[in-house]
Amino acid sequence: MSAANAASAVPRVWRKPPLIKSAALRWGIGIAVALYLAAAFGTTEVNWGRVWEGLPRGARFFAAFFPPDFTTRSSEIFDGILESIWMTVVATAIGIVLSIPVGLGAAKNIAPAPVYYICRGFLAVSRSFQEIILAIFFVKLFGFGPFAGVVTLAFATIGFYGKLLAEDIEDMDSSQAEAVRATGASWLQWVNFGIQPQVLPRMLGLALYRVDINFRESAVVGIVGAGGIGATLDTAFNRYEFDSAAAILLVIIAIVMLMEYFSGFVRRWVQ
């Protein structure tokens, strides 16, 4: 009691505890950040004259949204968007089907070591390249058109989905899988009844998320000639047809919003 009184008698002001406890580390990070920012801003070359010149153009672009021009280029926009949707569907389906064996192989608790390292290596490589870089190469290999885009998106899907599937399998409850195995199930039955039900709900949600990503990516691979709405968008910008570009952007946003709503609905239905 007396100790508490003595403590409260000392005039002290409460201070918020800092996010990083060690003072040396805190100051070190602060100084490093300041030095980096100075270097970064010091070496960045910006042509302010050109930026200033572009501002009215930017204003014109934003004005183009009110209202956007859906009609002039409506057939191109419609074709491009449809092509993007077809690409998304096919690429997601192929990518997910192919990612299942890779994902099973990349799960440490069920795959033998050599298979594990091969599959992990494949996933690491397929994830380190941007879709656009992949698209450039697949366009070189398969020629212009949506096929190259499908291969690009499917490849990227394998990297994304295979890794998440492998991690999900690694996190599963092994006792359930063991129980199935104890009944004398074959390997395929073991995977189908011991593992699949444990990972399916989450993986279904992720599949819908990947559909969303693939649609958004399908809008850019067209810039390098791999089909979809990207080529139309690129042309619209290069010709300064801002009202058509605004229309395309709004269509993309609307479809993404619709898909988000739809995927929420499916996810509730599954669970």
């Binding site: 918020k16 996010l19 980096y36 970064a40 801003f41 070496t43 960045t44 070359e45 910006v46 042509n47 050109r50 930026v51 010149e53 572009g54 501002l55 153009r57 930017g58 672009f61 449809l82 092509e83 949707i85 077809w86 690409m87 569907v89 096919v90 389906a93 380190s128 390249f129 941007q130 656009i132 870089i133 450039i136 190469f137 070189k140 290999l141 398969f142 020629g143 058109g145 949506p146 096929f147 499908v150 958004r216 990516e217 809008a219 850019v220 810039i223 390098v224 089909g227 990207g230 968008l233 690129d234 910008f237 290069n238 300064y240 570009a245 952007l249 993309i252 946003i253 993404v256 919003m257």
Partner: protein, 270 residues
């Protein structure tokens, strides 16, 4: 269909009939959509080019080896620009994402009118790829690092704001109430009740986005927004394949490095 049959009688079935039919119908629709989609893609594909691909790949492989190490000196500057675009873009993105997330979170939004606007900003920013933002900005403010930086920043707003507002909605309300009960003003409630609870999530999200942005900013040069994509584009258009393979190696190295840094930092925070 999983059933158990004993003496010719069905004794057990995995699902009810209605559920079984619903699943069957979902598969039917899915496969039909897939087949239709594939027919459209196939129609627009020039198959001889596709069948030719193995030779093309072998040819390209031969021409890309060995990487042209002598030109690595020209790559430091674009690489530095790439890292700057990613880092400064991320800073801009998270700075703008904070108010958007604050307005979008159900428990902190100042008014019901602001919430849908914030949600629209999040969706709009997320649904447009940074390459499209860059394309747009290059035509507006001209080619260069600044366009790339702003493109990265605009694309990051949606991602960071979405994760951040979800983190804000998950905070422990009792702590906020405790601060409010001391007679704190609205600003103080935010600063002492909300901010400390979301700070770790905020730092994690920023670092995570930075890592993604390094990867994205490597390609912005393809549309003229500066960084390592510019030499990549010129090497590809001039068919200098040994240079292309070197640039790809540099990109892989930077992506792996940034992923490692971000994983370490996130481990330290959590």
């Amino acid at each position: 269909m999983t059933v158990a049959i004993r003496d010719g009688l069905k004794v057990w079935q995995r699902r009810e009939r209605a559920a079984q039919f619903a699943i069957w119908a979902a598969w039917l629709v899915g496969v039909a959509v897939l087949v239709v989609s594939w027919s459209f893609i196939s129609e627009k594909t020039i198959w001889p080019f596709v069948l030719d691909a193995p030779q093309q790949a072998a040819d390209l492989g031969v021409r890309m080896v060995p990487p042209d190490w002598s030109s690595i000196g020209q790559l430091w500057r674009p690489m530095w620009d790439t890292i700057n675009m990613a880092t400064l873009g991320t800073l801009m993105g998270v700075a703008l994402a904070v108010p958007v997330a604050y307005c979008a979170a159900r428990n902190t939004t100042p008014s019901a009118v602001l919430r849908p606007i914030a949600m629209f900003i999040i969706v709009a920013s997320r649904s447009i790829n940074s390459l499209i933002w860059a394309l747009m900005l290059v035509t507006i403010i001209g080619p260069g690092v600044l366009a790339g930086m702003i493109a990265i920043g605009l694309r990051s707003i949606g991602f960071c704001a979405k994760l951040l507002y979800e983190a804000i909605e998950e905070i422990d309300e009792s702590q906020v109430e405790a601060v409010r009960a001391t007679g704190a003003s609205a600003a103080q409630v935010t600063a002492y009740g909300v901010v400390p609870q979301v700070m770790p999530a905020f730092a994690g999200i920023s670092v995570f986005r930075w890592d993604i942005n390094i990867r994205e900013s490597t390609v912005l040069g393809l549309v003229g927004a500066g960084g390592i994509g510019l030499p990549l584009n010129s090497a590809i258009t001039t068919l200098a394949w040994t240079k292309v393979s070197l640039i790809l190696l540099v990109i892989i190295a930077s992506v792996v490095l940034s992923e490692w840094v971000s994983a370490k930092v996130r481990q330290a925070i959590i």
